[in-house]
């Protein structure tokens, strides 16, 4: 089917101000277990072409049957002549090939090995007395060819592996549950780097004791967020509000706009102790790419720097509004979705302190190691995190475990309360949702331990 790219390009060449074409093929696999029972396994094989044409408006066509190419491309060109927004940023043409090599690619990892791997995790959870156990392993191998009217031609190839589990404990009528997701870009030779077994053991120990732990007394506390929590904070209240398509209203009827819409920049969001980075070039990360899905070379971006907004996440369309070139934020989850301004690996920049030093500086506080329920409003300002793996801090020391402390605060309230970050950096995987049709893309979220002063918890 990829042989059609040059034919489609010649059709578009005759009647467009700009066009780009993506061919993508993908092989995927999954295996799942639930409560000791094998649930199923399967594979998928798909391919397709996306063509975007700009004239008086912007039009997209998507098809996976080459017999439909003429019909879809013709309609796409035709509809691009309807009046609408029609600015995309340009840039320098690029010709390149890139590949994330794997010594044990997903296609080489046997079905029996996959089944053994997932079954062993279910058995481990059972040994740890988890009453609810769901384990799912999935992977995909992607090859993509991108061409555009500027002269770019880029071929990319990469494998991704994902894993998630749900684990639940019933203790004396109380229930505690955990959802944990893992992911890498690379082959199965790197599967161990996700440390799933260690996470399961640690999670199980803390969940089973949390079920009988006491709730905290509502009030003001110093709070130390663990890396899982600082990661979701970076993702939700920095990454999303700095997606420039949100700021300019493109996602207004869906995920919403941004508290940064209409502001003058740089805008102060927090203390000088906090910076947040988005970096698609981090090798092995779940959101790794060398070129985005609009043919722009990836690079690291400071979103917040020392408490001020810095760069925004741009795709070609939103960059054009700013009169800039895209900084390679254009990502699409599959061949049949448009690239939107998306995150990759988003994290709070580590500082110089140790966790012990952060804890020593707290007289009365709460350590929130991770989280269960969370949500945030559509301008990414009012947010809530319910703690998992949480402990009181008394006189500079970790004390008794507490159950589900709730931090409900604002973006500026949270980032302004930061007065210290530890030096370690830990990432967790996620699937970030955006767009219509909705497209979930693989990301990492991360950070160090982060200390907040005088926060209200309930």
């Amino acid at each position: 089917m990829e042989h059609l790219l040059d034919i489609i390009a010649s059709l578009c060449e005759r009647d467009s101000k700009y066009y780009d074409i993506r061919y993508m093929e993908e092989a995927g696999r999954f295996v799942s277990y639930r409560n000791g029972e094998f649930q199923g396994a399967g594979e998928s094989l798909e391919r397709g072409i996306a063509v975007r044409v700009v004239n008086e408006g912007i039009s997209y066509g998507f098809f996976n049957d080459e017999n439909k190419a003429s019909e879809v491309v013709g309609r796409t060109i035709d509809r691009s002549h309807k009046n609408g927004k029609n600015q995309l940023s340009g840039g320098t043409p690029i010709t390149d090939k890139w590949e994330v090599k794997a010594s044990q690619s997903p296609g080489d990892f046997s079905l029996d090995d996959r089944i053994d791997l997932v079954k062993s995790m279910d058995s481990l959870m059972n040994d740890l007395n988890a009453g609810v156990r769901i384990n799912v392993l999935n992977d995909r191998e992607v090859r993509q060819l991108y061409v555009n009217s500027l002269g770019s031609r880029i071929e990319g190839k990469f494998p991704r592996i994902g894993y998630y589990y749900v684990m639940g404990f019933n203790q004396n009528g109380s229930f505690e549950q955990s959802y944990n997701q893992f992911g890498i870009t690379g082959g199965y030779e790197n599967f161990g780097t996700m440390k799933i077994e260690e996470e399961v053991k640690d999670d199980a120990r803390k969940l089973s004791s949390a079920a009988t732990a006491a709730k905290i007394e509502p009030g003001r506390y110093d709070v130390i967020l663990g890396p899982d929590l600082s990661g979701i904070v970076a993702h939700e209240s920095c990454g999303h509000p700095t997606e420039y398509d949100r700021i300019i209203g493109r996602e207004g009827a869906l995920a919403g706009e941004s508290f940064l819409s209409g502001k003058d920049f740089p805008y102060r969001v927090g203390s000088e102790d906090v910076s947040v980075i988005d970096d698609p070039t981090m090798t092995g990360s779940y959101g790794y790419y060398k070129y985005d899905d609009e043919g722009i070379m990836a690079r690291k971006r400071y979103l917040y720097r020392n408490g001020l907004t810095s760069e925004f996440i741009l795709n070609r369309e939103s960059a054009a509004i700013l009169g800039m070139e895209s900084n390679a934020g254009g990502r699409s989850s599959s061949w049949n979705h448009e690239p939107l301004a998306r995150m990759s690996t988003t994290y709070i920049e580590p500082g110089e302190m140790s966790l012990d030093e952060l804890v020593e500086g707290v007289k009365l506080g709460v350590y929130m190691g991770s989280y269960t329920e969370w949500n945030i409003d559509d301008i990414r300002f009012n947010q809530k995190y319910v703690g998992k793996d949480s402990f009181m801090i008394r006189n500079g020391k970790l004390a008794e475990q507490v159950r589900r402390p709730i931090l409900e605060t604002t973006t500026t309230g949270l980032y302004s309360a930061v007065d210290g970050t530890s030096k370690e950096l830990h990432f967790s995987a996620g699937t970030c949702g955006k767009g219509e049709p909705e497209q979930g893309i693989e990301v990492w979220m991360g950070g160090p331990h982060v200390r907040l002063r005088n926060m209200y918890l309930s």
């Binding site: 396994a41 594979e43 066509g61 996976n64 019909e71 639940g168 505690e176 996602e251």
Partner: protein, 433 residues
């Protein structure tokens, strides 16, 4: 269908006990707009085949959209199934022969761009400073072959979303239109007008208060909460230990004001579907009748485990409701508001997340109109609050539903459904500090 027949013929020679082939061919058009201008027009022409095969209790799934490589599907399924562990939950598919019905429909060809401009114009004329939205026209042909049935349906419909902005305030309407519902300028202009009127309502705005308060939830809010709760009605969630409805068949799970149906047979909604993935004819199922839980939704496999019959909701291993309906009551929305002494009128919500699925403990973030009603009058607009409660308590706190309903569907947040307004007592509201 030709590809499907060919694939079935090849697989049927490979000694599988069950084979399910489902081909979906879709033609979809979309227009997106924001800041009162069209952003993008898109069109999709796609087809995909899903394969499920079983040999005894060994099962395997395959999905392919490259129809030139169907050989690889046959080789994969044949070469793999015997290496699978048994799935103890698998109990076979529907073996009853089903007659092909006259289910087809076709969406009227129309220019979605013109519809978008009509919607935008109406919103702006009624007070919106700007608006954003999406229009869809969808036509899908689904063909299914099992050893017992060969069925096909072409369905069509539309979806429309508009969100209006006026200063910091917003209003949103999001509806779906099945094959038997008219999609027209007039309906879209009404949506534009209503979203703009919500956004431009002239009342003071402030950060809301935490505490217990009565609420009036719009069809969008109750639709969103029930969409997120749909999983709890699946027998698979009950088996997994992740449903608060476990062990509750025949027991009170809500107030008597609640009767909840799953009705995929209603062609007014875009989730109209005449048969499930096992070839069972779908039907209208009563899930809750006047407060009492009547059934979970089942496939053949889950039904056998519960010693009952399939409800026509397969997903073979994970049955789910198709098109929920909270039954209307007798209340008028105006009266529900005017008779409230102290209540919140909440018109939309998003980002519902659970901390405890067994007990349905969740929070959700209201948006697009949170109005404080005192002595029957809307006196102010709130921001910065969430509903932080549990689904069991939500269901038990519903005191009445309105007689008017809306066919709501919105993005990830609201599955296609028909919902009324609902009044609830004493719901927990939290806020940020």
């Amino acid at each position: 269908m030709e590809s499907l027949d060919r694939l079935y013929e090849r697989l049927s020679r490979r000694n599988f006990d069950d084979i399910v082939l489902q081909q979906v061919s879709g033609a979809v058009s979309q227009v997106r707009f924001s800041n009162n201008r069209v952003d993008l027009e898109s069109n999709w022409v796609e087809e995909t085949i899903e394969v499920f095969a079983a040999r005894g209790k060994k099962i395997i799934a395959y999905e392919i959209n490259d129809l030139s490589r169907l050989d690889s599907a046959v080789e994969f399924l044949t070469g793999t199934v015997d290496r699978m562990p048994e799935n103890p939950s698998y109990e076979g598919i529907n073996t009853v022969k089903t007659d092909q019905g006259n289910w087809n429909s076709k969406a009227r060809e129309s220019d979605l761009n013109d519809y978008a401009l009509a919607m935008i114009g109406s919103a702006v004329d009624n007070g919106a400073q700007k608006c954003a939205g999406i229009l869809y026209r969808k036509t899908n042909t689904t063909s299914l072959i099992t050893p017992y049935n060969s069925l096909s349906v072409t369905t069509s419909g539309h979806e429309a979303v508009i969100r209006s902005f006026a200063g910091e305030s917003t209003g949103q309407e999001a509806l779906h239109f099945g094959p038997d519902t008219t999609f027209s300028d007039r309906v879209l202009e009404k949506m534009g007008k209503e979203s703009a009127q919500t956004a431009s309502r002239k009342v003071p705005r402030r950060v809301g208060d935490a505490g217990k308060i009565d609420v009036i939830l719009s069809p969008y809010v109750i639709g969103s909460l029930l969409s997120y709760s749909a999983q709890y009605f699946s027998a698979e969630s009950v088996i997994a230990g992740l449903s608060f409805l476990e062990g509750k068949i025949g027991k009170d799970v809500s107030s008597r004001a609640v009767s909840l149906l799953d009705d995929p047979t209603d062609r007014r909604g875009i989730a109209f579907v005449p048969f499930d993935m096992e070839g069972t004819i779908t039907r209208r199922n009563v899930l809750i009748e006047k407060g009492i839980l009547k059934t979970y939704v089942h496939s053949c496999s889950t039904a056998k485990r519960f010693n009952t019959h399939t409800t026509g909701n397969a997903g073979i291993l994970n049955p789910m409701p198709w098109q929920l309906k909270l039954m209307p009551g007798t209340g008028k929305v105006d009266s529900m508001i005017s008779e409230s002494r102290n209540a919140l009128l909440i018109l939309n919500t998003w980002y519902t997340r659970f901390q405890d699925d067994r007990n349905g403990v969740f929070s959700t973030v209201p948006r697009d109109g949170i109005f404080h009603v005192i002595d029957g009058e809307i006196v102010e607009s709130w921001s910065g609050v969430r509903i932080s409660d549990s689904i069991p308590n939500i269901l038990k706190s519903i005191t009445q539903t309105s007689r008017d309903t809306k066919w709501v569907k919105w993005w990830l947040e609201i599955s296609p459904s028909e919902m009324p307004f609902a009044s609830l007592e004493n719901i927990n509201i939290s806020r940020s500090f």
